[in-house]
């Protein structure tokens, strides 16, 4: 299935998105995928090609990431979600199902709250729930990128990716998204900043739509388990055998999990 790219307009300027359209028209709802910070919708390219066989599947670059224009001032998750809502309006998609990954999970949750009639299912890859102390620590870690003339800022980011390298993920796999990982410039931290100002603990209990949380063996595994009592209509799927990189390494299996969940009667 071919994944095409296009631009459309949103409140922050031009929004770049990847989209796979099935060859035959389908009654199945489109799937909208929101990426983690600070990368882009490129991480979903393999998955879009899988899902695109039987439904429309798309992945925008969050404003300010990848090839999307971004805000000049730090936005909130609410702002990102509103921009994504504008994307849905422009594409005239009707009801959709959503996949979110880390920061993208929060955008998906907020979009589900802003547009409860539109967003029907949420498949969230990690929904970390932090204590106030942890949140403070997290916020302190995500400062603007400091470019150092010895290049050590690059190895700092690389070391972090190596530390949380997923099962089966090679260094070439890491390089596939490394360029976009460090491309955000002075506003690279906006996504993390917004994510750590957004409380999943407050949002999750207000979400009535079916939620499936995928909990991989990654940096958010412990924090994500805390979400279980907050889910009104959901479950956590533990996949200790998956970690970062699973979207490429296990795209077909993940697509079948997503299909089964999205096509279940709400």
């Amino acid at each position: 299935m071919t994944v095409r790219r296009e631009y459309l307009d949103c409140r922050f300027g031009q929004l770049h998105l990847r989209i796979a359209r099935p060859a035959m028209s389908t009654a199945r709802r489109p799937v909208v995928c929101f990426h983690l910070s600070p990368v882009s919708g490129a991480i979903y390219e393999t998955l879009l090609a899988e899902l695109g066989h039987d439904r429309m599947a798309l992945a925008p670059d969050t404003p300010g990431y990848g090839a999307s224009d971004g805000p000049l001032e730090p936005p909130t998750i609410g702002d990102y979600a509103a921009a994504m809502g504008e994307m849905l309006d422009r594409l005239a998609l009707g009801a959709v199902d959503c996949i979110g990954f880390h920061t993208g999970s929060k955008i998906a949750m907020e979009l589900a709250l802003q547009r409860p009639q539109t967003v029907r299912h949420l498949l969230l890859i990690s929904t970390p729930i932090y204590t106030p102390t942890e949140l403070e620590q997290m916020r302190a870690e995500f400062a603007p990128m400091e470019i150092r003339d010895d290049g050590s800022h690059l190895t700092d980011y690389w070391d972090e990716l190596m530390r949380w390298r997923g099962p089966g993920q090679t260094t070439l796999d890491l390089m596939r998204y490394y360029g976009v990982h460090v491309s955000g410039g002075e506003r690279r931290h906006f996504g993390h900043r917004a994510a750590f100002l957004y409380s999943s603990a407050e949002a999750l209990p207000r979400i009535a739509q079916p939620v499936l949380v995928l909990n991989n063996n990654d940096d958010l595994q412990e924090y994500t388990r805390r979400a279980l009592p907050l889910l009104q209509n959901g479950a956590i799927l533990e996949r200790a055998d998956w970690g970062h990189g699973f979207l490429d390494l296990h795209a077909a299996e993940f697509a079948s999990i997503a299909r089964e969940f999205f096509d279940r009667a709400a």
Binding site: I147, T155, G179
Partner: protein, 262 residues
């Protein structure tokens, strides 16, 4: 007018384009390797006309082509992208290094559509130099090391041919261009497979050759004796490889003079 970006389809993949300005004969901007249309983002707002900067396939936010392309195929792809953008029948073209070679091919491919041509630091290689380039530049790939040493090497390489004070944010942007390319050396296969000398000599179009003292200076001064009689040679030996970053107003004025928008 702010920058407008577009994604357009071609036979070898989708091309990412940055458009700015209005009016005049459009100016097509072709980047060096391994860069992207990002290298023109300082110049474009300084031009009093419509300009179109494309990411070559395999670079920036354009798709990677399904195989290595020849210079003629890169030029044909650019022409398809321009038609998809509906920019009109006639345009000027300005290219640097790889982009200068592609500009010549574009003029050969569509001689009636290209009006004026600007070439910046066009490299003229001997056969032996082309062979050498095929074994070196054209093999440029990122080979990751667990300790991140490949990133430090790539970072240091972005300082080459430059003097302090360092423009760190631009070095970072050049590094990002290099890292966004799945195969950074791919366009060099076309560069070192291409002999610019006959194309240059046979050219009938109005032509200006800008020659800064950059990393290919020894190669680009060779163009002087190959230029067709109508060409203008502009010595910029006080400029370096970053002339579209550090000499924006001067370059905009030179473009206005030698590639006038009207």
């Amino acid at each position: 007018m702010t920058e407008q970006r577009r994604i357009v389809a071609t036979d070898f993949g989708q091309v990412h384009v940055r458009l700015q300005g209005e009016g005049g004969v459009p100016l097509v901007l072709l980047h060096m390797s391994p860069r992207s249309s990002q290298m023109w983002t300082h110049l474009q707002p300084a031009l009093q006309r419509r300009s179109i900067a494309l990411d070559r396939l395999g670079y920036g936010f354009s798709d990677a082509p399904p195989r290595a392309l020849t210079m003629r195929e890169y030029a044909a792809t650019t022409l398809q992208a321009l038609d998809a953008l509906d920019i009109g029948e006639r345009f000027d073209v300005l290219g640097m290094h790889t982009g200068a070679l592609e500009a010549l091919e574009l003029a050969q491919l569509a001689p009636q559509r290209v009006r004026n041509i600007g070439i910046v630091a066009i490299p003229i290689f001997s056969a032996a130099e082309r062979d050498h380039g095929m074994q070196t530049f054209a093999q440029m790939k990122v080979v990751p090391a667990e300790d991140g040493a490949h990133l430090i090497a790539a970072w240091r390489a972005r300082f080459q041919f430059r003097q302090p004070p360092w423009h760190l944010s631009d070095i970072q942007r050049r590094l990002v261009d290099y890292l966004l390319a799945p195969y950074p050396g791919q366009a060099y296969l076309a560069v070192f497979g291409y002999d610019a000398a006959p194309s240059l000599t046979d050219l009938q179009h109005p032509l200006v050759a800008f020659v800064p003292r950059d990393d290919v200076y020894d190669l680009s001064v060779r163009s002087r004796v190959l230029l067709p009689k109508q060409a203008v040679y502009v010595d910029l030996s006080d400029c370096d490889v970053d002339l579209f970053l550090t000499q924006v107003r001067r370059m905009a004025a030179l473009i206005e003079q030698h590639l006038p928008p009207a």
